[in-house]
Amino acid sequence: MVRLKSRYILFEVLYPPTDVNVEESMSKADILLAHHRASPADVSIKSIIQEVRRSLSLNLGDYGSAKCSSLLQLKYFSNRTSTGIIRCHREDCDLVIMALMLMARIGDVGGLIVNPVKVSGTIKKIEQFAVRRNSKILNLIKSSQSSQFSDNDFLINDLEKIENENENEND
């Protein structure tokens, strides 16, 4: 008996600064901070999955969108860290990443890049990767600024919660 094979895609929503003037003296941490911002409340699990489906049907037509939508699921999204995890079928993983890449807005919120970061076969590994990646970025920022951030603890707590939920489901 062959198990259902799926892939998990870790993505983040970046908000490139479009209105403010960029100073020449921006440091690495400033650039990172300018791009990684908290998402507004309009960007929710519902609006994202709607937008992914819209992008799929716009770019791939009825055939492509129907093919992908069998297992398409947004497992996690946090407005505070603007990171999320999408589950899809193993064969259609590329099409979903393509749809994510071609998205220019989510609902009514424009001026963003949906940036697929990593693809993995299990949700556990992708959570570990997300935590590692976030702490790496935080270290970069912290090393140049003394202020404290608690976003990573926030993400770790969140991810532990869904992990527990998943285990409950499996039981």
């Binding site: 479009t18 020449e24 690495k28 650039i31 990172l32 099409l95 990443i97 220019a104």
Partner: protein, 293 residues
Amino acid sequence: MLVDLNVPWPQSSYMEKVTPQAINNLTKTLTTLHTLGYTHIAINFTVSHSEKFPNDVKMLNPIDIKKRFGELMARTGLKLYSRITLIIDDPSKGQSLSKISQAFDVVAALPISEKGLTLSTTNLDIDLLTFQYGSRLPTFLKHKSICSCVNRGVKLEIVYGYALRDVQSRRQFVSNVRSVIRSSRFRGIVIGSGAMSPLECRNILGVTSLIKNLGLPSDKCSKAMGDLASLVLLNGRLRNKSHKQTIVAGGGEEDDNDVVNDVQGIDDNQTVKLVKRTMDPEQLGHAAKRHKP
């Protein structure tokens, strides 16, 4: 390392003035690309081949990377290069490339007519061949002309920025990319962004899956933004600063003889280093086969 060979410079001829706002927009694009993990970026100045070029070599390159982006480079560790793209329409009106290529790191050709395509695939001394992916290709691309061009060492460029604009240009992009991939038999393809604004930048994972869906094998996709693209940068630098593309004097750290991934660049003022290029059959393609004893 991740290379983007095409970030447009906000100027389409030597006559135009550059506004500070446009420079600011370009800087934003560069910082966004940096956030997405790019390390080597070429700024692309597109100009018509029949345009009157200034006589002074120093005036040829309007980009002036050191003065405008020196601080950005130092702070972020980005490496910036200058690139010129010549729009080739009527070959009889054009002029010699030898002087132009001295002022830029990479020289590319963008044919918009059949004659222009013939000229740029056969005679011109260029590093890159690119097309206007938003509109129809000048002519049907033939295996013979494109493959002979690739064997000469010229790379073909795909610009994915067109896929993110309007519906019409995306449609045209897909059909053009498919014909470029078909005519080149998957060889010598590099990918650039052509991002006019920070919102048109995408990371390697997304671009790879897009181009993979258009028919390029996935191993070639990841090479197209890394190894092959850095080879273009290397070729361009070696054209001006080496003896017969094999030996270069000047630049870099002392014990670092990897020119492709060189972070310092080839600079006349730094410690002298001698680098001999190895004959890697993968990179040289057909040329290596011919040289086998």
